[in-house]
Amino acid sequence: MCMNSFLQAENLKFSYINNIEEPPVRTEVLHGVSLDVKKGEFVALLGHNGSGKSTLAKCFNAINIADEGKVYACGFDASLEENLFPIRQRVGMVFQNPDNQIVATIVEEDVAFALENMGVEPAEIRRRVDEALKTVGMYEYRGHAPHKLSGGQKQRVAIAGILAMKPQVVLLDEPTAMLDPSGRAEVMKTIKMLKEEMCVTIVLITHYMEEAAQADRIVVIDNGSIVMDDVPKRIFSQVEKMKSIGLDVPQVTELCYLLRQQGVDLPEDIITEDECVEALSKLLLKK
């Protein structure tokens, strides 16, 4: 339980229990996951549908309690009842559907929701709400009704609602899945700013490989076990392996992969458009 590892799972096993059937059916979803997320890291969590990404994320903020193994969040043991609120306050979670995580009818009231639950003094709530709204660039909208905002704006309000708690880790479960491209860009910009300017540790679950490519580290989970854990460049250079797990690689990586197969001499670790443009123009100039 070293202080600079913010999220830590050791041989974590988790099962869902279906009580509707008789006798109850247990399905093990996580089969012994070990993961260590360090302070200030930006980790992308990848895996195809149903591989257990959301389940794992929920283990880290004590929504799911491990059946076996240990989970520590910011140094707190997640299996202890008394650590519930300290953990949830430090490990914030943002979900996919922006509509289903906004509670109040006014933007600023919603951002204040977590602080109200924590029993923070009204003056302090005011200060933190304003600060959080300014951080995500939604301060001018503080008096608006959430249902009149765009998807990207709603998602930024949801992030502000988490930021107001001053969390050390933010888990984002497919925060861009329901947004249009401009909303996605807004949210990604906010996430990167959190990481760079506020030193918040980020775990981003996503199906967009271009988003994952921006992380410091990628963890790939398949059928409830971690199968890959490395920096983006090394993950995406294994195109065949990714495809065999049912995952994609960024479009430019795939392009370079196909060109390489045709005998074009390109490096393996291209994951952004800029790198691709550079490599291709170098190649063309050489000829």
Partner: protein, 267 residues
Amino acid sequence: MLKDITIGQFFPGKSIVHRLDSRIKIILTIVFIFMLFMADSFYGLGVGIIYVLGAFLLSKIPFKMMLKSLKPLVPILIFTGILNIFFITAGDPVFEWRFITVTDMGLRTAAYNMIRIIGLIIGSSLLTYTTSPIALTDAIERLLSPLKKIKVPVHELAMMMTIALRFIPTLIEETDKIMSAQKARGADLETGSLLQRAKALVPILIPLFVSSFRRAEDLALAMECRCYHGGEGRTRLKQLKTAPRDYVALVITAGFVFLTVFADKLA
């Protein structure tokens, strides 16, 4: 078209009525309703009506909104009128035809009750016109908070109201979408007998229910993640504060109550 429905019909504004504390406004509305029912003369009722019209003028809400709020009430007004006129047989008869007797007392009671209903509607719509739903919910929570002692789940009720207010626009939008989707699949919602049209609503209501349950599950999870654990130890961002104008409003209202009760004797 569904989007035009606004619940509670709040008209934002900066008038003195808008700025009164929402708790005080609820209390004043209740006092006003008592005033109408305590008054048992035209003078007393007149004082009540002057009071509410005065408040309406101060609120700067367009006068036609008042007429609009009364329009759906016309059938009830007529019904009350008829009931009172024909079924009160005490007093001196003014008109007799076969078994129908209309007495002066019947006519008077009919008029009283119609004025009371009109006043009631104007008073309560003035409350919702000038108070945002969220302020109303807050005020109700705080006014009822003594009931927590006898285990009335006041906080939970207020939370439910807030969430309902929050999700009404979302669900209306969703209904619109489902309706369009079903129409695109050939559902016919506008023609046919009443029964047929009611049946046509089933394929709209079922997806709506299913998605509401999913939303409820998501929302509960999001609330848990934000440390929600009921009303215990909860603070609020917005504190309700009474200002001198609230006490002035209370004093003026007390004056009107006095006038209503003694209007008969003073006149």
